[in-house]
Symmetry: C2
Subunit: 212 residues, 2 copies
DNA sequence: ACCTGAACACCGTTCAAGT
DNA sequence: ACCTGAACACCGTTCAAGT
């Protein structure tokens, strides 16, 4: 029987195996001590094999960041699907999901938003999945806007303000800057609720009553 | 004439010269291509000389981050000093200053808040100057609270919400994630104003009128 | 005290060679 | 097509040695 096209040679999918090994290593050692040679060793191949699947170390790091953006984009869509008729709940759920992902995967989060990948020359597929994540948030805001939930400001401005607030909380927690005030999962959820609540009462149309 | 104590040997202050060279190199090459050996070469000393002043590369990076936090702390104090009787203006000015510093020094900002330094084992002087920066913001919030500017929420919660929003905007801009919407200094200022405005109308006491 | 050069283990990347 | 081992230039860090 002839071998299947993709199930060739070693694992069948060395590219994915390298990404998986790199994510584990990133969590174990941090971004500064992640070496391509060690990733290859973990995946069981020679230290030059990764170059068959990635142009260089930067490309592998970009692939990890893409995994993070994919998780974020999926979470946004799930928030919409869970309460299709309730844009307010969509917003609250998306803020919570954003912060939880950042806390769960701090290293990937910093890879996604820190300066480690540089500010340009990012691969097209990374840009694409990053735009998809922001697009989900835009959709949530637009849902609320059409329901008359927000002040008369354009959707993009509203989305940028919401994104900034939730993103800032996520980065501060995942960087350990709020260690004294946010110690466990309950504190994380509580802070996310607090930020979302203040944000809502700020951007919410004056014509509507209290959120509950 | 005998040499002055600190003006010894090469520069008089090799420690500072190394920090300065490292900051330049950081901006030129990015965090991933900053090498201790190149920093030493730029400062005109052998590649082992830095170890007289820093335990390791991590310690030098921490010193750079400390410079960034010092700038931030100073900016907060300046915002207070500029309008001692106007807590609202203090808040607006501090948000603007925060974002501007992040845009001006994106690499140092990511060093301060990204995961490159790890999440623990940070030197005491870095923690200290970092706390000073946040302390300035706390003071600004407390000033406004005593003036009846904000809702009846404890100062720490208010400060964390404000910090998150402004921090998020700063990180998104300095990471280039808003390139399509924030292209120049005017856009930066405009976005900072937008975030601060929404934030204020959210946390502002209902008993007061419009901010102007 | 402060700096140096040699040394060690490791890294990212290239390339001719193997199957 | 996919993988390998040798090679190159570079890195962080240590250490005995110089003034």
């Amino acid at each position: 029987m002839p071998k299947k096209s993709k199930d060739s040679y070693h694992h069948g999918d060395l590219r994915q195996a390298l990404i998986d090994a790199a994510i584990v290593l990133l969590r174990e050692r941090g971004i500064n001590d992640l070496s391509l040679r060690e990733v290859a060793k973990r995946a069981g191949v020679s230290h030059t094999a990764p170059y068959r699947h990635f142009n260089d170390k930067h490309a592998l790091l970009c692939a990890i960041a893409a995994v993070g953006f994919k998780r974020l984009a999926d979470a946004m869509q799930q928030c919409i699907a869970q309460d299709p008729q309730n844009p307010l709940k969509q917003l609250q759920a998306s803020g919570l999901a954003y912060v939880r992902l950042a806390v769960q995967y701090p290293d990937i989060t910093h890879l996604m938003f820190g300066g480690a990948l540089g500010y340009e020359n990012l691969p097209a597929d990374l840009i694409e999945v990053s735009d998809a994540a922001f697009g989900g948030l835009l959709q949530i805001i637009d849902n609320g806007k059409q329901a008359g939930l927000y002040q008369d400001e354009d959707t993009m401005s509203l989305a940028l303000v919401v994104w900034s607030s939730v993103h800032g909380l996520s980065m501060l927690i995942s960087a350990g800057k709020l260690q004294d005030h946010v110690k466990n999962q309950d504190d994380v959820d509580c802070m996310a609720e607090l930020v979302t609540r203040f944000l809502l009462s700020g951007i919410k149309s004056d014509k509507l009553g209290a959120p509950e």
